[in-house]
Symmetry: C2
């Protein structure tokens, strides 16, 4: 199930499949060895297959000259992160590549090698896909995962008094982007710069969702900034009270904040963090702590679901979402 | 599971979903009402879920000013046709829309209404999708269908002496494209012109695959011209003998051929026919005829699988695939 391709200059479609893409099916029968326009999914006893999809586009979600590795990383992370937010374990995926003229064989090699690495790490394989020619580079992917129906974490299942948890540190990839766009003073240690650039180019999905799914009432991954995504889960029925000084930030972020290079507001309003926001009944706090400790994943309890609509600090001040510069304004 | 959208000028993402896309989920639970970044698939007892995907891109698979209805039609037909060639019944799909600035709310309305019509006709629903902004219009879709594992029709399961069958008439949409590009003399009746243009803009998937799957050894849908797709199923192990005068053509095509406006070669070498090539053991001929008659679907037995590699006429002359002009050369 790898189809259609208007040739790269020096290589045919079947050579691309044979040399670079075939390894990604991990020899799984489901892919029919990429010999058909289709693939099949095995069913999992007592489990549902969950699907999610995402597209990333040149000049929208990444820059034209970003490395093949970074682009591969982003399409995988955005999809794995969605699955994790649903409490789902990854299983397989399909890939649609729309490739402009400037893409080289080396690019394809780097792209597929990086996918291979991530597939090994997170344990999923390529079912098939579609190759076509376009003006902009576009990578679109449908991911499949599985879990028991009752363990699926839904966005709109928030309950009153739930604790609000967040994974990892916020604002990291956003700072990377600001550095990249020279919107943060050059007066910054290279080590710190590279730390944030890496967070921007190679964001990590937080894969704790499947492990704690049964304790969570609701969840989402952060792709529009913490406040915007929090809004999506509280919806129209609830509000949230947030302990702003519990918002998790890295030690390098603290340096940047101390130097007034960044407003704290930006951390909670911007960026594709790919961290998770989860709401959890108070009685399961120790379970979340236990499992995250065991898996060495940072989690922070940063607030709770309240009746009063809106998002507030613990001092009752309303926290309003703000629009800072977007990726490509 | 409808995500991300950089606004059309006068309408927000959630209005698009609510007003135009929501109806496409047919109120199926699997879509989570488009409120999550994911959807789930029900499992079918004793059946496999088959997936296929296809992208169509402005200036590659359609022209910029083609109607929203035609573009909706093509993404559906190309995917349903793939499923049918596998012997699979359609079930649901996801949709990735990459939308450039020139797309209007009317366009979205026409596009979604046409999808709705096709969903009703062929009985499948929208699970979810992804909306983004781009320079070129791009529609990418993953389709899901189901069938018993043993009934899946595979490309590479051709057997010696199989009859080669083809559905419908060949070359129709190709002639439509030639008319559109003024590559066919203007000296042609309007009725005939419109007939072929309709075949180009609104190609029909041939949905007989699921009904005859258990009698077929191998199959493919024609998206690169009959000869090219036939080559894919005979692979490296077999050849084919074709009765050229049994190649099915419509009465209007015969007029065009008689007027020497088209070479016969073009009919078998060009075009997205979305008809099926199927190879069937001789003993099942009557089954194919019976089922196609009952379903009012034209089928023609046009040749057989032979040992000698290559594609030949019944007089032993080699039929070589030729490249005529491509959609956008």
């Amino acid at each position: 199930m790898i189809k259609k391709f208007s040739k790269l200059k020096s290589i045919t479609e079947s050579e691309i499949i044979e040399k670079y893409l075939k390894k990604l099916n991990f020899d799984k029968k489901e892919s029919f060895g990429f010999k058909n326009d289709s693939a099949y999914l095995n069913s999992f006893q007592n489990k549902k297959i969950i699907i999610t999809n995402d597209s990333i586009i040149e000049n929208v979600d990444f820059f034209k000259n970003d490395s093949a590795q970074s682009i591969a990383h982003k399409i995988v992370t955005s999809n794995l992160s969605d699955l994790s937010a649903m409490g789902v374990k990854p299983y397989s995926y399909t890939l649609n590549l729309c490739i402009p003229n400037y893409i080289t064989v080396d690019w394809i090699e780097n792209f597929s090698n990086h996918l291979f690495k991530l597939q090994k790490k997170y344990n999923f394989f390529l079912l098939g896909g579609d190759l076509s020619k376009s003006k902009q580079l576009m990578v679109s992917s449908t991911f499949f995962g599985h879990t028991k129906y009752k363990n699926i974490i839904l966005r709109d299942h928030v309950k009153m008094d739930d604790d609000i948890w967040v994974t990892g540190n916020l604002g990291e990839s956003y700072v990377g982007l600001k550095i990249l766009k020279n919107k943060i003073s050059n007066n910054l240690d290279n080590k710190i710069k590279n730390y944030f650039l890496k967070k921007y180019y190679f964001p990590k999905p937080c894969m704790i969702g499947y492990k704690i799914a049964k304790y969570c009432n609701s969840g989402i991954d952060i792709s529009d900034g913490f406040i915007n995504d929090l809004k999506k889960i509280i919806g129209k029925g609830f509000g949230a009270r947030i302990k702003l000084n519990s918002i998790p930030t890295s030690k390098f972020m603290k340096i940047i904040l101390n130097k007034n290079m960044l407003k704290f507001d930006e951390i909670i309003n911007c960026g594709d963090d790919y961290e998770l926001i989860l709401t959890v009944p108070k009685k399961f706090s120790h379970k979340i702590q236990e499992i995250s400790y065991k898996n060495k994943i940072k989690v922070s309890r940063i607030g709770e679901i309240i009746k009063t609509k809106g998002i507030f600090s613990i001092y009752g001040k309303s926290i309003i979402s703000k629009n800072y510069f977007k990726h490509f304004s």
